[in-house]
Symmetry: C2
Subunit: 389 residues, 2 copies
């Protein structure tokens, strides 16, 4: 995802919005650790988030990239920043028992007089409690700015929605391959290999990137556990398997799940299918600007209740630019109590999944909010895929 995927104006807009939010929180400097946020602000891309790295955003002037010496060349290649704004910490501090890279960040901040009104993303995978302790000891209390940038990402630009539609074409392609290959006796890992390869080989002019989550693909009773990946057990008649997968185009995602069944699904599963499909229709109709997250979610819970099912977890979340381990944006949720109002060009993964002790059923859609309601970002037959035994 080179920075050149978006215009200079778009990056300026993103930074502008972020700075408004910083001012509202009284922040002079924001330390951005979430790789998705780093990429959204600067274009930085690389599998380097397993060591400390940040984008430092002051209220004025250029953002700075700060990371490991070995990754500076990657920052020069992928970001729009001047090379003079790429700062590195000493290579010998990598995973060292006596040195922590964040010690050198303290100096970077002190040198620039950025010693107060600092915001940090306290609840992020790549900002550790150890990093936080070092900064707190140097600068006193820091402001928790978890989600500050994530919230700015909620309303996508048209260029971003275009990326997500391309990701959606990859997702649809993966589901087509899945549907074609799904057959009795095929070891699950072989099916996963084929589907994942389809997503990365992509389509003409549309190369796939790695999704932020690997295929989740449990079968039968396994599917009562919602985050089991795969094993080598052959696909078996009488079992439902659900596949939660996403194409990824230049770090943008479009997840979609389908359940597949070998043989004749029980009435119970068919009733769940009907409830899930109705839930999707109703939720997409409701997903107009001004509707709240909980109103959209209610469509799902209501459809399930009418069919005699109780869904005890949230039914969707915002999506877009992401890095492992999550393709959600971790801001809003489609669930009771979330009164955030939808705006045009927000994008969600609508997830009306049902998990019982005996099976799991997931037919899901990623959509963009438009004046006419939610419009799916991928074109995938919306049904329980049934293959004869």
């Amino acid at each position: 995802m080179p920075a050149s995927d978006f215009s200079a104006q778009e990056y300026a807009d993103r930074i502008g919005r972020t700075r408004v939010a910083m001012e509202q929180r009284g922040l002079d400097v924001l330390l951005i650790t979430d790789p998705s946020n780093m990429a959204w602000i600067t274009g930085y891309d690389g599998w380097s988030f397993y060591v400390p790295q940040m984008v430092i955003l002051p209220v004025k002037g250029s953002p700075l990239w700060w990371g490991r010496t070995q990754d500076k060349a990657g920052a020069a290649q992928t970001t729009w920043l001047d090379t003079s704004d790429l700062l590195d910490w000493p290579e010998e501090h990598v995973q060292h028992p006596d040195h922590h890279p964040v010690d050198s960040l303290v100096t970077v901040l002190q040198d620039r007089g950025w010693t107060s009104s600092l915001g940090v993303e306290m609840d992020n995978y790549y900002y550790s409690a150890a990093s936080h302790r070092i900064l707190e000891r140097a600068f006193g209390v820091l402001t928790d700015a978890t989600g500050l940038v994530n919230w700015q990402r909620a309303v996508k630009s048209n260029a971003e929605v275009d990326m997500m539609r391309k990701a959606g074409r990859l997702t649809a392609h993966m589901h087509e391959v899945l549907r074609g290959a799904f057959r009795e006796g095929l070891p699950k890992n072989q099916l996963v290999a084929e589907v994942q390869a389809a997503g990365i080989a992509g389509l003409p002019g549309l190369a796939g990137d790695y999704p932020a989550i690997v295929p989740i693909a449990p079968s039968g009773a396994e599917a009562s556990a919602s985050h089991i990946t795969w094993n080598d057990r052959p696909l078996t008649v009488g079992e439902a398997t659900y596949f939660e997968i996403s194409g990824c185009y230049r770090r943008y995602h479009c997840p979609a799940s389908r359940s597949l069944f070998l043989g004749n699904p029980s009435d119970d599963i068919r009733r769940a299918e009907t409830a899930v499909l109705q839930a999707i229709d109703d939720a997409l109709s409701a997903a107009r600007p001004g509707a709240t997250c909980e109103e959209v979610a209610a469509c799902v819970y209501d459809s399930f209740a009418r069919a005699g099912y109780v869904k005890a977890n949230r039914t969707g979340y915002p999506i877009g630019l992401s890095y492992p381990p999550d393709w959600g944006e971790r801001t809003m949720s489609l669930r009771p109590g979330d009164t955030t109002e939808l705006q045009e060009n927000m994008t969600f993964h609508l997830m009306p999944g049902l998990w019982t002790p005996d099976w799991g059923m997931a037919i899901t859609e990623s959509f963009v909010v438009t004046a006419a309601g939610g419009v799916p970002l991928a074109d995938i037959p919306r049904e329980l895929v049934v293959k004869p035994a």
Copy 2:
């Protein structure tokens, strides 16, 4: 990776070793957040580490699994724990602005009287600064036990080495596919798709799991950046590409890199190849029980120095059971100053990579320490792979 991959005795040994280390640190209870450590202690497996979850290990009694309600079924399926030792936090607290799952962990600990001498993994991806703040407010000062479990994992059991050799067969298979498919004009993403699929489809009786890092595969000048993944640019004559990839068998890894070249490599690259191959020979010979990490590393730096190259970063790290974003164990490093003594059945990724501004060269080996020196865990032709234009 179901818990049943290892004997009850092996899990008891692992816990025993960990408890000795806990006692040395004065810890009554260890809160284990690293998914690799959680799996090593209990067998827990699932892509659920994007929400708070832990294994709680007291000095006496069974460890407890603590996680999201939706993931409890996965814990029942994959761990050896009694279901009464699986504790869950309320589903509605997932990524919620006003509730944090760790609030409920406080209650879990208080209910058991586990309110002091608590250890936490402060420098881990999946233990956030926000989680730490909640625990600190409840219990006062906590002990930083980063790496405590990781260190216990350093010396592998024979059963683990067997897993890693199986991962190595997958790695070798991936490299064979890579070597066969590498040709002028092939878009990189298509090559990556093929190689990744080979690793997951696996070999007869040997199914592949997802590696903790996606293929790192930069070409030409891109390769000066060491953590660039891939794009859709066709492979080009006159460029070196290096592939850092790993097979994964039931969460165990065996990474290995090879550089591939289309056309005639320059003398410079050939000289680097010779230095790298010599470095590997020397380091494997040196890697006997009792040798120190820095002594093994010196073999690499010395070989490079004789060829006129300077390598400014570490040249290897321990490997084994892993989850994203890193397949290293984050304990020892093969570099100057690390005087840890090697022991039989320690396993390392020896990484004598060279990155210049114009190209990168990586030929690497994963090995197990034996009385006779380091023995590679995968059988892959050790050379710069050159394909005619």
